[in-house]
Symmetry: C2
Subunit: 110 residues, 2 copies
DNA sequence: TTTCGTTATATCTTTCAGGAAATAACGAAA
DNA sequence: TTTCGTTATTTCCTGAAAGATATAACGAAA
């Protein structure tokens, strides 16, 4: 009858660190190898993608995205091992949260 | 180091039924006795409050808010017993979700 | 030293959600 | 029948967020 939905996010010292949208752009960067290609892949403006990455790096305890400007290919961006670990943990927690809430919905008979 | 935050909401057939903002206005209506007073109490525009209530009633399986227009006092709004029950259940689930996520945060060592 | 595609940044425009305000409709009580 | 404060609804306006555009800076490789 009813469905329960959720959004989770992780905050650092000064604002949002990780959320669903940020996970999406991080994974696109892994796949595409650069910020601009990842933005295009997601149909997102470069500026928006850049703002997200900037915010991620500012709120993380350790570097997440390393950007390189210049070079023959123009540069690019890579996700650090720590970043990849955080992606996995976020997705795990998010999945667990969904399951937990579905269970709650049943228990409360909604 | 990191904090985890969440937003949950319940959807009906055709959109959002209950969320934190809706719970807030419902409780304000119980306290104040009318939609307009509740909106003023929350520093919210009357239109926004009315839109929320309208959406709540449209997506609920049973009536939540009964509004009365006219009368010496001009009318008012009341929350049905079913509505009050839903408020309690939502807040209970929301609290459980917070606890669950805090636990997840520890387990995943973030 | 030139080339290249990228990151980084600023500026301008557009869009749209939300607030403000005005008004009609309502109906019980005096 | 008049009064009252509310609900219900419309229109207008504003401000903030998002997109579009332009361009400087970068630096490894040829």
């Amino acid at each position: 009858m009813y469905a329960i939905k959720s959004r989770i996010w992780i905050e650092g010292e000064d604002g949002v660190f990780l959320g669903e949208g940020r996970i999406k752009i991080l994974k696109a960067i892994i796949k595409e190898g650069s910020l601009s290609k990842a933005a295009k892949f997601l149909g997102m403006s470069y500026k928006k993608a850049w703002n997200l990455i900037d915010s991620i790096n500012k709120n993380a305890s350790e570097p997440i995205v390393i950007t390189n400007t210049g070079g023959s290919g123009g540069g690019g961006a890579i996700i650090t091992p720590y970043g990849k670990e955080m992606i996995l943990k976020f997705e795990e927690i998010n999945k667990n949260c969904w399951n937990f809430l579905d269970q709650q919905l049943k228990e409360h008979q909604l």
